[in-house]
């Protein structure tokens, strides 16, 4: 199982060195160690094309994990594995084990709808529904069967506050969401995801389609949210990963080359390819 190219480094560190390196991750019972997300030997295929090769990684509760790497390296595919959004693409196939909160999510009796309520997602392009601001945020709770207007209003307010959007929209909750600016729309999408009360939030390049000032607001927001949620964010922007994440994974051509604390990845990468990428030699 251990390979030489370092892509399963996390296993090595957790087995042998975690006591010294990351005492907070020390757990005597490593096999059954509780992880928010635990991926083992994941191979993923689009038809006959393999997109992910033997990815193994553990993500612990809370904090921000960033996935970096050049375009087409598999980081978005990996993200969509975690809430099974890849199911929507015909002809995909997966090998290996993906567990969330200790449960394998790729077994036949997995409740995908329930999984997606626990694992929220924010997309690359802001995609609010063509409905009012209120109805956008209330959508998740409503399809869950919640009808009580007062409870809904409370959830909408909490979620919008959680996404740092409340002050800007509290007086116009009934206006169409598509009238908001791009950055506001993206925060609305975050609020919409929060309203379902997920535990994990997946973000697929959430700032790549919005301007720098709006980007900064989202980054601040991510830092705040990671006190309550486990956030896994795909980003094209290495500086962003360095600014906002606690852990970083570097993907290259479908392999996870290196995974570790953000400071160690950026200051002391173990793999030459990681170093080449973060110093801008390619990518």
């Amino acid at each position: 199982m251990m390979k030489t190219n370092g892509n399963v480094k996390i296993d090595e560190t957790s087995v042998q060195e975690s006591a010294e390196e990351k005492p907070d991750q020390l757990n005597p019972d490593l096999e059954n160690e509780y992880c928010e997300v635990k991926v083992e030997n994941l191979n993923f295929f689009y038809g006959s094309v393999q997109a992910l090769f033997n990815v193994t990684v553990k993500v612990h509760e809370k904090g921000v994990a960033a996935l970096i790497g050049p375009s087409g390296c598999g980081k978005s595919t990996f993200l969509r594995v975690l809430n099974r959004m890849n199911d929507l693409i015909p002809g995909t196939r997966l090998e290996g084990k993906v567990s969330i909160h200790g449960e394998n999510i790729y077994v036949s009796n997995t409740d995908v709808v329930n999984l997606r309520k626990k694992v929220g997602m924010v997309f690359q392009h802001p995609n609010p529904f063509p409905k009012s601001i209120f109805d956008n945020v209330a959508y998740g709770p409503r399809i869950d069967g919640l009808k009580d207007k007062a409870v809904l209003s409370e959830i909408v307010e909490t979620s919008l506050k959680g996404a740092a959007l409340w002050d800007e929209v509290k007086d116009r909750l009934n206006e169409p969401a598509l009238a908001l600016s791009g950055g506001q729309q993206q925060r609305l999408c975050i609020a919409r995801a929060l309203a379902v009360k997920p535990r994990i939030l997946l973000m697929d390049e959430p700032t790549s389609a919005i301007d720098p000032i709006a980007t900064q607001r989202i980054e601040d927001l991510v830092r705040n949210l990671c006190n309550d949620y486990t956030i896994i964010i795909v980003t094209h922007n290495m500086q962003q990963a360095a600014r906002i994440s606690d852990y970083t994974g570097f993907f290259l051509q479908g392999e996870m080359i290196e995974w570790g604390s953000t400071s160690s990845i950026f200051t002391n990468p173990q793999d030459n390819r990681t170093e080449d990428y973060i110093t801008g030699r390619f990518g």
């Binding site: 392009h125 399809i143 598509l178």
Partner: protein, 292 residues
Amino acid sequence: MVSITEKTMRVIFISCGLAIIIFLAGILYILLSNSMPGLIELGLGPFFAADRWNPGAYGEPSYSLLNMIYGTLMVTLGALIFAVPIGVAAAAYLAEIASPWEREFFKPIVEVLAGVPSVVLGFFGLVVLAPLIARAFNLNSGLTAFNGAILVGVMALPTIITLAEDAITAVPKEYRHASLALGGTRWQTIWKITIPAAFSGITASAMLGMGRAIGETMTVLMVTGNMVARPESFLDSVRTLSAGIAIDIGDVVFNSTHFHALFVAGLLLFLITFLVNLLADILIQRKPEVNK
């Protein structure tokens, strides 16, 4: 330099395009010129008076189109009540649920349905549907507005299915993904996101289906019984404006008041269809608001 063939081709194609406008203008002109004498002679009132359609009556003929307007409305609205839910559901199935194989199988069938001659459908209504309706509702005759509504609904289905499917397919996939990622089921996504987002296109499909239904003649002529009385319910016999024209036009005296009155009915049908299609067109132009 533009060659002479290039110029000739241009003129030919422009003429073909213009021909459409000329045909339409010609039709409108014929309708107006033939209905005007009637409108001038009688005024607008008698055509909409609470009266009878009895142009052949000795001494005091009456020309009220009202009962035929009721007939047309009943058949058309009945057809929509029947065809819109089925058509939209079928469109949602084709656009959202069907596998590529199923889609390849069903779409040609919808097209075949569109090609069934109306006289064949009318025959089916006469021989199969009418006895069934008569037995089910314990009537003397199954030749009713209900019968006509179902058959005209079947005729409007291909229009509704094809256009509603286009409208549903045009909804950006980002909306669906957002809904599914929030833990929405496929059913919730279709019902609460996709269909509402496609609403203007779906309404347009229903209106174009309606345009098809209003003017339909042969089928309704064969299956609605053609009685020019004020209908009390869908189980009454009715005569529609289109069937009324078709029945009388064969033996009407040329240029008589009766003749002109039939053209008034034709003008009315033309105007209703024109307005419905125009409205549908406006709705189709109003694309779903895409966030780009």
